[in-house]
Amino acid sequence: MSDIARDRLFGVGNAFDHPVVLWVSIALVALLIAAPLAAVLLRRTGRIDDAHFRELLLRCLSWMVLAPLMIGPVLLGAAWFIGFVFVIMLLCYREFVRATGLFRERTLSGVVLLAITALGFAVLDHWYGFFVAIPALAVSVIAAVAVLADRPAGYIQRVGLAVFAFLFIGVGLGHFAYLGNDTGYRPLIVWLVLCVEMNDVFAYICGKLFGRRRLAPNTSPGKTFAGGVGALVLTTALAALVGRFVFDQTVLAAPAHLIGLGLIISVGGQLGDLMLSSIKRDLGIKDMGTLIPGHGGLLDRFDSLLLVAPAVFHYVRYFIGIGLDQPARTLSGG
């Protein structure tokens, strides 16, 4: 393994070299301290009741665990980040198959699990050719393996669910993990996660302040047009503002590109959220899991990233490339 690759995968010495990483990390620590204090203040002044206070506190506590878990691997090195996203992919997949009932199809579940593992390897290896080949191969293998059971009843549903699970979770989050192969992966990932998370917050706040007309009453009754438009404007502004530093001295630093990326993140994030809501409504369940107190399952937390990550990945790759100056096939040595 070359020194460049080793430094990217395991180097921690330059974790805070980029100003975006440094300032977002400081802001995150400040927010994690300030949020529970604000909740206590709101309760003491009587602005919120006990139940609301407990819910807020539970969310703050969850974030105190989640935030270091999310930012920590990015700071430690690309190998840690890719490993972390791989574990998230497996846990999200577990939630999906248990919610849809696909887990009872053990062979198909196993094939999807193998395909996700292969994706994880392709990402860690920085082997783009294999990374883009896996989806096509996986879909063919899933469809073929399902035939071997000689059980045509329900074939379309089984194969459809397995392919959807793989593309939805494996490929969606796989693109997010692949960002770790870029030399400047830290600011890129921090910027993307910041915009996606703030997109949710902006939608929530704008919806609470100005929301009247519902966006998709049958899918998610809590979402409003005002929330959606507010998130679109504010997230685009945030993405452009912070992105100016992330994409400094590249073609993507042009305002048109930054606005384009902001729109992709905001629209993709909101559609990802609505997509998971549709799945849950169809299944008749409230949350996909119970792993994160106050949030539900991991998929409930990472739903916005599922559509955003591939879109942003290919936008950035098309204009400036991802990991072009990094040695490819670091493990397999091609």
Binding site: R98, F103, R106, D282, L283
Partner: protein, 223 residues
């Protein structure tokens, strides 16, 4: 084309410990992997220590539902019976284990659920609802149960009277009950011993019977 039908896991929404101690628990791919490793290791361990002789496998049904019942003198009993089953039946067999012994702490519950694929049997507060839940699962999934109708391990090695739960569990269904006889487990690991001794054991499966051949709940309760 059939109408699409989603059947989320019965235990969806239950967190960690709740899931292990619930009769709604359903094994996923991760549990199945752990159980495969556990039962293969158990078969190896039993083979080396007790060299169990298994007979009567031809009496086992081809597919679930079924209830295996056996005499109970040792913690080895469930291991010997389940490990001797063909893999296709082992995967669908759930041992009904006493909740106050196997599910009274988190580590024990995790072990019983994830390795043994056991379900908790509330033997001191078994109500009609609990039995209904178990029966619905037995017939609806369908699956197989391993049950020790004496209710607890025999302290003398001799068979004790049956509790009424077995008859109540399968009453009104045509689920076959397969009696199994375990020999040598008491000598190998009696209730008063802390660890097993390497003594040969044997498991024999008999012809199946159904609920009409069992004592009625009232009669069984009077014994």
């Amino acid at each position: 084309m059939r109408t699409w039908e989603y059947k989320p896991a019965r235990d969806l929404g239950l967190a960690g410990h709740q899931r292990w101690t619930s009769v709604r628990r359903e094994s996923g791919l991760d549990d199945w992997l752990i159980q495969s490793i556990w039962w293969n290791a158990t078969r190896l361990g039993l083979g080396l220590m007790h060299r169990p002789r298994v007979s009567g496998l031809g009496h086992l049904p081809a597919h679930p539902p079924f209830v295996l019942v056996a005499n109970h003198t040792s913690h080895l009993d469930a291991l010997v019976v389940v490990a001797s089953l063909p893999r296709r039946l082992r995967r669908v067999t759930l041992a009904l284990a006493a909740d106050d012994t196997f599910f009274d702490s988190r580590p024990r519950a995790a072990f019983a659920a994830m390795c043994l694929n056991a379900l908790p049997l509330r033997r001191h507060r078994m109500g009609g609802h609990s039995l209904d839940e178990l029966r619905d699962r037995l017939v609806g999934e369908p699956c197989g149960y391993l049950l020790f109708p004496e209710g607890t391990r025999s302290r003398s090695g001799a068979m004790n009277p049956f509790k009424p739960g077995l008859g109540m569990l399968i009453a009104g269904t045509d689920v076959p009950v397969i009696p199994c006889r375990i020999v040598g487990a008491f000598e190998a690991w009696p209730p008063h011993a802390t660890q097993p001794r390497p003594i040969r054991s044997a498991s024999t499966s008999g012809r199946h019977c159904d609920s009409t051949m069992l004592p009625t709940p009232a009669a069984a309760g009077n014994r």
